[in-house]
Amino acid sequence: MVTAGQVGGLSGAYLRPGVGAAALGMGGASSASPENFTAWWNPAASADTKENKFALGAGSRSLGRSDLYGEFDFKVPPRLGMGFLFLYRGDPFLDNLYNDDYDNPEKLPDAAYTTCTGKISLSYYVSRKLSAGVNIGINYQRLPSSIDDNGEWIYSSTAGIGAMDIGVSYKWNDNLTIGLVVRDLFSLMTWELTDETYSPTIEDRPLPSFTCATSYTDSLMHKPLKWNTDLKGYLFDGEWEKLERPEAYLSTGAEWQTWKTLYVRMGLGDILLNGDMFTDEYSSDFFCKITAGLSVDLSKIKKGMVANYGVATDKTWAGLDQQLDVTFSF
């Protein structure tokens, strides 16, 4: 029995985890009305913000995976918004790789897997209810692929410019916002896997995803409550061939302002929805992320400053994924 989805192993795995501690704490659901890192979550959102915003953060994921990210969002009155996002994501601790001598394997030198992603978003405030946006992405990956005569790693890298995300955000009413986002369109990275004797070329086309998201605001015990849900679907592979079985991942989480300066969050992330859902194997192998987080308003220290922390179990129970970031609104 295989409860693996179609997506696992296909191109763009490093682009699938979310960005930002607040979103992580809410199960990774933030596409309808993201407060931070709008270029990542929904490029339409920056037109709707009332302030410029600068954010910087870092993350540590299980098994040595690491994040470093930052964003600058600003308004271009009267109707435009722009955002610049930078994301480093990788595994700098590839320290347990062995050579191919099965009987007497020897450890190889430490290596690192590095990816960098940049997104430039432009959004337009169409009406009081609707805004739309697009962003253009730059993707870069670097991977150890061979060893030279001196025992040093030979790295291969690839870069692609032109990946595109398109998003809209629609305010249904005062409580409900709906977002639609298509990510990683037209993304292409061409690897030349460097070797001493040959250099095969591989086209790496991340899968496009289609996200339908909601953000509902209300109050609980007279205190503000926000409930986000993202349903991210995968229908095609990177070459627009239909996947054998379409599938979706549901993420949902809530944020509650318990104190004037304290927000708490919790959620469930990456719940796989596919054709196996009603089988016994699906329930026995069911896994998802359990997330939590909090934000502290630090305006007393610096006006407009908020610190966010998010934590989640990973889907293999190998450890915790954590992100910590600070945002400045001005």
């Binding site: 029995m1 295989v2 409860t3 693996a4 989805g5 179609q6 997506v7 696992g8 192993g9 296909l10 191109s11 763009g12 795995a13 490093y14 699938r16 985890p17 299980s62 098994l63 040595g64 995976r65 994501r89 595994d91 590839l94 347990n96 790789l97 062995y98 050579n99 191919d100 001598d101 099965y102 009987d103 007497n104 394997p105 190889l108 897997y113 990956q141 991977l143 150890p144 692929s145 061979s146 060893i147 030279d148 005569d149 001196n150 025992g151 291969s156 690897w191 896997l193 070797d195 001493e196 004797t197 095969p200 591989i202 790496d204 054998e244 990456d270 990973d314 889907k315 293999t316 190998a318």
Partner: protein, 514 residues
Amino acid sequence: MNKLSIVALGLGICLSGGSVYAQSSGFFSNEIQVLAGSNDTISILTGKYGSISNEVTFAVSYIPNIDSAYIANDKNWKTITFQKNQYASDLAYGGGVSVVPFDTAGGLHENKVIAIDHKTNTTKAFTYPWTNSLRADTLKQLFALNVAYCKGSFYFAANDGGLVRWQNVSDVKSILLPGTSGAVAADTSFKGISDETKRVIGVEVSKDVVIVTTPSSTWKYTPADSSWTEYPKTSADADLTVTEFECSFADGNSAGLPLYSIAKVKLGSADTTVCIKYSKKDNGWKLLLNSEISGVSFAVQGYFYTFYNHDSTNCKVYRDTLGDSAVENLSSRQIESYYLPDRLVRGTDIPEINDIQFIPQSDSSGILWVATSNGLYLSRNEKPGTSSDSLLCIKKVSTVKKGLKEAFACPGILKYDPYSDQESFIWFVYNLSKDAKVTIRIYDFNMDCVKTVIEKESRKSGDNNSENGRSNNKIKDVWDGTTSTGRRCAPGVYYFKITTDIGEHAFGKIVVAK
């Protein structure tokens, strides 16, 4: 600093002609290419190909005592490791010295030859007795890929340079030309062999006679009286025409030293490569085996072992009791058509046979050495065609910590292998503390499950398993870099998780770069 240099500095350095060779104890690799030895010494040429570095490294390991317990102790083996990407082509042993010629793949017309003194564990470069004017003739092939030892001398099949004899103790070198009595003067008068059909392409030793192969003839050279006997391509079979000799050899354990050859022939109307034998009675060559064998080892009572490139795990045993007088076509008359493989199997490994050597100890038995891709095998009391017991396996295997405290993918990088027609794959290596049901799953960078390699399959603890003290199944616990639906994974870093029903679990990393 590379690993070989570190080993060299840590364990001692052999300097030879400006080259540095690492000297160490223990097997270098379990991929054993060539065997050479005597009653009390075994010397082996091993090679190791690193798919991540695309490097080949060869080494010679030797041991002065073939007592079973002694050879089983890895530390008793001495090893000289050669520089990377120097391709050793053969190995000969005699008089306490191993000699290794290297392939001149780089296009040089003279090759490197290294001699290893077993007593002092030192190396010495052998140089051919060519004059500068001969060396300047770049059209001449002056290298020897084949070497043999006989009565105090090493003999090199030096192509256009003829047969080179090196009396290593006195360091006297001579050039011998098939059919020419005595040595040729190694001065400017020697221009090398100009007829390609007469260049010396092979040399073997049987008892006290050197068997020399040229494309046009097979020769017996007797060092005692420096005499040559020619066996030209004359066929004694009506439908057999010998086109070219490739490698000739003789059965040193049978009277009259019956002569055999692997040769290109025209059989009927077909061009093929077969094993032929010289019939003294018929004054010509006759078909012995209608198949292309890659090697032969003669045993006693006319038995001989054959092994093959195209059927590399197999060994067939034949018997030829006709001596040098007559020839019988044995193609369909093997004593055993699948003789050694079952006796070599360890767990799921069926090793490829690279070389066989039989050293007679009595009229009916001897010591059998088998060089394989999975170690050195020994049968101390081998009765050819009769013995059926498993051979003693001598190989070096590193231990893996119990209880999944150590678990890894081997190799850690999954690459396309340009030298293999098969899809590359990795093994999962682990050692359970108890028998358990094991699940192995692969995850991508987002921890999305890529594939379930095995699910709840029974695996034995390392202590309870014949697979080198490890729990993994070498055939099933592998991953070829595909997803559960058979798609090829994108390049990147992947993670694997091994879980068991006894609570032991482990994580590891894999780089997919193909």
